[in-house]
Symmetry: C2
DNA sequence: GACTGGCACTCGCTACAGTCGAGTGCCAGG
DNA sequence: CCTGGCACTCGACTGTAGCGAGTGCCAGTC
């Protein structure tokens, strides 16, 4: 059955009212607050249809209606327009992000900003190593048999690992190894490095062979294989807004999920610059079936190097949240492009 | 008024029962579960005294007694003995901490371990830069006018900052600068560096002067002045155990406090290897007046390079928690000593 | 055919009264 | 100083009743 325009209007009104009041909305209140031009009885009939189609439901008889996940989905897809940011918000974003001194700082400021603006839980992924390329590899002798390798990526990320050498290296040997490694890997995408690292070993001089092997093992293992992804989190206190009415009673499953980096990455790790909205049950993670997630990719220019997003109750202000998430992602992208 | 031994026994019994049952404990239940050798009536008299002295209180008439913060304090100071760890716990600690590949890894594993063992919120401070000394300073040219300075500390911490150079430097100049900087600062405690950095500028050759100034500014600002302390957090989901009975209803203030690094550092940033217990109101931070914190310093050998601890309801198993926190701190210290 | 006003019905919420029982404080006696 | 006994308090729980928001349905109107 197709829903005519008025029924969609009714759905939109229900979503908007419920989001702002947090209470089931009835037919009478609806016609009072919105110019629907019809009587409560008519609205009731429309509501009955909407309920039958699964867009709204009654918590119990003699209560108003509440949108279902499906209702929110329809609302997000077809009934809402992106809300432009207020000048105050724009200013907040700019003020927050200028003056960041390094990548850590950028990410921390961003995640706090996002949590503050949306009043929800914010998650920001550090630029993915898999989407970074090598800017420089530095080898720092810690002792004669220990080398610290520091990789600086074009995205600003810096990773370091300790390499245990099978035999001591002298200063000039380290210098040679450093030069060779950089010649081979600089400017190269991390995901493309494995064959190059391999050839590095093969082409190495006999006296450097053992050290090169040790180095290449560490490089491959830590930087490529177990992709070192990192995320930052903020705003968990916002989960307690709405006094436990959201999230069906218990915060526990939500907090548990938020502790798992793997889960966070699944939520906001994006490949495309598209904004995704996952509503309640659409979510793959069981613990988050009562939450919605708005996420998007970010990066300098059109490329995407990481994801960011927010998590909140299904009953959230989708248009506002989507607008904020996008805006923050855009600003962060610009910031990264400057470096 | 001095409390005789039996009154102390009664207090101990009340604390133990309340901690395990989470319910106000009455005189009858007390004599049943503990061998006090006296009748409920006698216990009641003792309770009346304990209440008068402020060690216990009644949530309401006709309810049992509950320890006050002061009661817990007395319990911790004089009535409890440190509970030895179970073999299972010992094994868990060892299993958890072997195989850590770098400092980040150590800290993350530690904080999760601590949260899991105590079933509370765990906080671990990274080794403080203020208590670290410089192992190596590396200068990595990013472009002709940009230098990345990477500082490797003896505690395993690695910090990097970007330095904008006023004028381009060539390769050999960078090498010279690197050598000079390392000669001056290597092995030196970070807190002692300011005068040395200053002299570095003064002694620098004219053509390196400008670059040295830029470098020293960054060094002083980021590594010394705004002490770059970091902390890791885990186990927030444990706050929801005991179904909001703990923490006087709302998790909000707790979660808010846990989001502030500054606050976390205040809580667990320790100078001495002593184990501190802050109970409820003893806490300086208003948001945490309904929580208790057990914290201790850790470090290789007897020196302390950072703090770690847990936060839970005032109604917590102090002997067990204290034992676990200490044990974990000791293991982490050993781990750090190996590097 | 679509909309409207009216009406009976449902059911959660609140208030209130009554009961129960855990736990106490006090006191007289050993 | 300890104990048993007793009266008392007060929160927790139960059952009942009234209220009111909100619904579904139906007959009537445009």
């Amino acid at each position: 059955m197709a829903l005519d325009d008025r029924k969609l209007d009714v759905l939109r009104a229900i979503v908007e009212d419920y989001v702002s009041t947090q209470e089931p909305v009835g037919s009478k209140a609806l016609v009072e607050r919105h110019q629907l031009g019809v009587s409560p009885a008519t609205v009731r009939n429309d509501m009955a249809v909407l309920e039958e189609e699964g867009y709204i439901r009654q918590p119990h008889t003699s209560a108003g209606r509440v949108p279902t996940d499906r209702g929110y989905r329809l609302f997000v897809d077809r009934l809402s327009t992106v809300k432009p940011l207020s000048p105050a918000e724009r200013r907040a974003i700019e003020r927050f992000l200028v003056g960041a001194v390094d990548l850590d700082d950028v990410v921390h400021r961003t995640v706090r900003l996002l949590a503050q603006l949306t009043r929800q839980v914010a998650v920001v992924q550090y630029p993915s190593l898999a989407r970074s390329s090598v800017r420089h590899l530095e080898l720092v002798p810690i002792s004669t048999t220990r080398l610290m390798v520091v990789m600086i990526a074009n995205t600003g990320r810096v990773e370091q690992r300790l390499v245990e050498l099978p035999a001591p290296l002298d200063e000039s040997q380290v210098t040679t190894l450093r030069r060779l490694t950089n010649e081979k890997l600089c400017g190269c995408k991390l995901s493309d490095t494995p064959p190059l690292v391999q050839s590095l070993v093969e082409e190495s001089a006999p006296e450097l062979r053992a050290a090169t092997v040790a180095l290449s093992t560490v490089l491959l293992e830590t930087l490529v294989e177990r992709h070192e992804e990192r995320v930052a989190l903020a705003g968990t206190a916002n989960l307690t807004r709405g006094g436990l009415l959201d999230f069906s009673g218990s915060l526990r499953p939500i907090l548990e999920a938020l502790e798992e980096e793997v889960i966070l990455l699944k939520l906001i790790g994006e490949v495309e610059p598209i904004t995704r909205v996952r509503i309640g049950d659409e979510n793959e993670i069981d613990n988050l079936r009562s939450a919605s997630i708005v996420s998007t990719g970010y990066g300098p220019g059109v490329t995407v190097v990481g994801g960011l997003g927010v998590l909140g109750p299904t009953r959230m202000d989708y248009p506002g949240t989507i607008a904020t998430v996008r805006a923050v992602a855009r600003y962060v992208g610009e910031l990264l492009a400057q470096n």
